[in-house]
């Protein structure tokens, strides 16, 4: 049986689990059964993806006699699909394992269980689809299945609103992709990817298709300003689904972009790379700035997803630019960096959402202003969450650092590019990436510090308990993947070689045989990184420092005032809070860009009421793009509303006028 057929059987398994969940109904046994089954199927799919990717198997195709009559549905499993299948199913397996424990706290499991399997099936179908029709169909199926999960907790009006915005943006994205495929279709109307790849379209059609793919797939991935649904929808779902939405489904959006632009459209001009790089840079900076200002832990993570998608798109744009100029090795480097970051982000973002879910189960709170001190109550969750935070903040020796470092290496190659626009713009985007990385550091210091350190800010946080074993195992597994991918990056880069060869036509030099397992993307004289050495150095120096301090510290008794940790007052509200930690960054960047408005309402002397601090932050995308758009549509609708109440004669006159106008058009522009 070809590999792609096994993949399709996995998808059938996911769909079957959805049906079985419906039959099982709301019984208590349903939760472990469903998640256990999805875990097994996802592990099978991971195995399939790994063997395909590492075994270097030739792409396998299969045509099923379903879909459009006479055309059928084409499915194909190549290196690119296999890599993304690995990412998707790894996340799915972790989320399933986590769900076995987490799902027990779900108050309406019948709103989650039947859609969980189909959602996974939809994402895998997108990865295997090899013609425009099945691609769009599975894309929409994935969107709808995820929408049902977003509105799972439908009693909260905010979730319904999030679901509505998500649905609108998803439809818009699919429309763009539909138009892109229409432009790319082979002259004979061949809608298979193979046919479109062979067909040559004009430069302007290819450019338009690339833009449409950027908008269509970017709206799923979360490119600014198409990201607005993401911070609303991702936190609305149950936490393990949030992890899938944020860590995995955005990657399917990235896959859609790569498949259309790199694979189907091919090279036409280097300016496409410039547009993608700029969009990525803006997304990275805006995403992380917004993340810093969030109070809600899950929203913070969702905005951080926007940032990371920006980093991925910077890499992809560079790869496009290098490839259009025939600079294969540089393109391979940029592409490898982007794909590595896709993998990393799926791992640590899932880990962080699981951590947020654990906190939510333990305390019932997502608002960081009401958490704190959880490291004492939930030590294991705190450690794995810290590893996730360090990874996403790109600290060596963890995996986030490697992919961002590789992206920087690609940016440093930009002077090779012949176009002056790119020569100037790419280093500027590099500076934006550096800014984003630094702000991400601040963001996750805040996230970890406010949630896990200091003293509890609410009774709920003070009485938290550690989560169950399944959830802990899932988080620990992901944390180990973070550490392993960070310390042995050469192995990951080698595994990505088939994808780089498929899309950039060359791969990076093999890393596995290098001494000390170091990572040398271009040449030894230029740059190299060794995660393993840094890991051991950190461990050794840390242990030695601790040993020296313990050995040499004085044991004599001293008399001094009690160290009050800098908080002379007893109340927990005197601690750093989420908003106060973010205030400097908010003041520097927020006033102009986000229209931050802070008001302090102090009681007059003698008044007994409490002082109030109010803050308003507005997303520039809402302010400058969607706000005017929505107002325009509303105004137009109100105007057109009068058409409902015309007389019969006026309706006739309208028809008559339309006829006359059309005739005039024909008469004038014959």
């Amino acid at each position: 049986m070809p590999e792609v057929a096994i993949g399709l059987w996995c998808i059938a398994g996911f769909l079957g689990i959805g049906v079985a969940a419906t039959i099982l109904g709301g019984r208590a046994i349903a939760t472990p059964l469903v998640y256990g089954a999805t875990l097994l199927v996802a592990l099978g799919a991971v195995l399939l993806a790994l063997t395909t990717l590492l075994g270097g198997a030739a792409p396998s195709t299969v045509v099923l006699p379903i879909g459009l009559p006479g055309i059928g549905a084409h499915f194909r499993l190549d290196a690119l699909s296999a890599f993304f299948m690995l990412v998707v199913n790894l996340g799915a397996a972790a989320a399933s394992l986590y769900g076995i424990g987490y799902g027990r706290h779900e108050h309406s499991p019948m709103r989650v269980l039947p859609f969980f399997g189909p959602f996974l099936a939809g994402m895998n179908l997108v990865l295997l689809a090899a013609d425009a029709f099945s691609f769009l169909l599975s894309w929409e199926f994935m969107s709808l299945a995820s929408w049902t999960l977003v509105v799972a907790h439908h009693r909260e009006p905010a979730n319904i609103r999030a679901g509505f915005i998500y649905l609108a943006m998803a439809s818009f994205g699919t429309l763009c992709l539909l138009l892109a495929f229409g432009l790319l279709a082979a002259p004979g109307g061949d809608f298979t990817f193979a046919g479109m790849r062979g067909a040559t379209v004009g430069g302007s059609a290819a450019a338009l298709a690339t833009l449409l793919a950027l908008v269509g797939a970017g709206s799923k991935a979360g490119l600014v300003p198409l990201h607005v649904w993401l911070p609303l929808a991702h936190p609305a779902a149950p936490s393990h689904v949030s992890a899938l939405l944020s860590g995995v489904m955005t990657k399917v959006g990235v896959y859609g972009f790569i498949r259309i632009v790199f694979d189907v459209v091919g090279d036409f001009s280097s300016w496409a790379g410039l547009v993608v790089v700029l969009a990525g840079g803006a997304t990275a900076v805006l995403g992380v700035l917004y993340a810093v200002m969030q109070r809600d832990l899950k929203r913070l993570l969702a905005y951080s997803t926007v940032e990371n998608i920006g980093i991925v798109f910077i890499g992809l744009g560079l790869a496009l630019a290098f490839r259009a100029n025939g600079q294969g090795p540089a393109a391979a480097l940029a592409l490898t960096a982007a794909l590595f970051h896709v993998f990393n982000h799926s791992v640590f973002k899932s880990l962080l959402f699981f951590g947020a879910g654990a906190v939510l189960t333990a305390t019932g709170e997502r608002d960081t202003e009401k958490l704190g001190g959880l490291i004492h109550r939930m030590p294991q969750t705190a450690v794995v969450f810290l590893i996730g935070c360090m990874s996403i903040a790109a600290l060596p020796p963890l995996n986030g650092f490697v992919s961002e470092w590789l992206t920087f290496q690609a940016i440093l190659l930009s002077p090779q590019l012949p176009q002056w626009g790119l020569k100037f713009a790419v280093p500027a985007v590099g500076a934006m990436l550096a800014l984003a990385a630094a702000l991400a550091g601040a963001c996750f210091v805040k996230a970890f510090g406010v949630v896990f350190l200091s003293r509890p800010r609410s009774p709920a946080a003070a009485q938290a308990t550690e989560v169950d074993g399944f959830a802990l195992t899932a988080m620990l597994t992901l944390a180990w993947i973070c550490i392993l991918a960070g310390t042995l990056p050469g192995l990951v880069v080698d595994a990505l070689a088939p994808v780089a060869r498929q899309l950039a036509f060359v791969a990076l030099p093999p890393q596995a045989g290098l001494p000390w397992l170091s990572l040398v993307p271009i040449a030894d004289s230029r740059s190299s990184y060794n995660g393993l050495v840094i890991f051991f150095f950190l461990v050794a120096s840390g242990t030695m420092t601790a040993a020296v301090v313990h050995r040499l510290a004085s044991r004599s008794t001293r008399k001094s005032p009690i160290w009050d940790c800098g908080y002379p007052l007893d109340s927990p509200v005197t601690q750093y809070s989420s908003s106060s930690f973010a205030q400097p960054i908010r003041r520097v960047f927020g006033t102009v860009l986000f229209g931050v408005h802070e008001t302090v309402d102090m009681p007059r002397p003698g008044e007994t009421r409490a002082g109030r601090f109010r803050m308003r932050v507005r997303d520039p995308a809402w302010r400058f793009v969607y706000g005017p758009l929505a107002r325009g549509v509303l105004r137009g609708a109100v105007r057109l509303n009068r058409l409902q109440f015309l007389t019969i004669r006026r309706y006739l006159a309208l028809v008559f006028a339309a006829l006359i106008v059309l005739m005039l058009v024909v008469a004038i522009w014959r």
Binding site: T647, R649, L652, A653, F656, L659, I660, L664, V666, A667
Partner: protein, 223 residues
């Protein structure tokens, strides 16, 4: 083809068009119906002449149907309706005569502009006929939207249909069955309209369609 034959065909088709303009100009309902009857007679003459020119005897049947149905039966019925409803003295314009006539002239110019280049290769009789026919259709529509009385709107619709018949007979080889079906559909439309007119009258004591709008809870127009 004989030049005189062509001129006569041209004259008759133009006669139908001129009568359409006259319809626009009439103030009283009885006058409108009379002009409509006259238009039907000229139309049947035109169709009859076409049958001579084209050597197509079945067009004579069409001419006969037009003469009997639209020249005699429908006008008589409409006169009876108007007398029964007692609206024969009403002036029921929305737009006054002058602007309507100007708009009508514009429509004729537009249809000639539009049709001439399209049918350049057709034979000259058909070419002129098509332009006139399109103009008659447009003028019929214009009549429907500039009047507020239901009976006049019926007349506008019938006159629009005259334009269709004119176009159909101008082209060579139009089968009889098409004309017959068009004629029948118009007859049925006329019956439906008639029933409606009486229903409106029964309920509202008038055939002014504005009363319908007021019934729907809308403001009365002051045009």
């Amino acid at each position: 083809m004989n030049a005189l034959w062509f001129d006569i065909a041209h004259l008759l088709a133009a006669g139908v068009l001129v009568l359409s303009l006259m319809l626009l100009y009439q103030d009283r309902i009885t006058a409108v119906i009379n002009v409509f009857a006259l238009q039907a007679v000229v139309l049947s003459l035109s169709v009859g002449w076409q049958s001579v020119v084209q050597g197509a005897p079945h067009l004579l049947a069409t001419a006969f149907i037009a003469l009997v149905a639209k020249g005699i039966v429908i006008p008589t019925a409409l006169h009876r309706i108007v007398r029964k409803l007692d609206v024969h003295r009403e002036v029921e314009r929305v737009v006054s005569g002058g602007p309507t006539m100007l708009a009508g002239l514009g429509l004729i110019a537009l249809s000639i502009l539009l049709v001439q280049p399209v049918v350049e290769t057709a034979d000259p009789v058909a070419r002129e006929d098509f332009a006139f026919a399109l103009a008659v259709v447009l003028l019929g529509l214009l009549l429907m939207i500039t009047r507020r009385n239901a009976v006049t709107q019926v007349v506008g619709f019938m006159s629009l249909e005259n334009g269709l018949v004119l176009a159909a007979t101008g082209a060579k080889g139009m089968p009889l069955v098409v004309e017959v079906s068009v004629a029948f559909s118009v007859l049925i439309a006329f019956i439906v309209f008639g029933v409606f007119v009486f229903r409106i009258r029964e309920r509202f004591d008038t055939v002014d369609v504005n009363v319908l709008d007021r019934f729907r809870g809308e403001r009365r127009e002051h045009l």
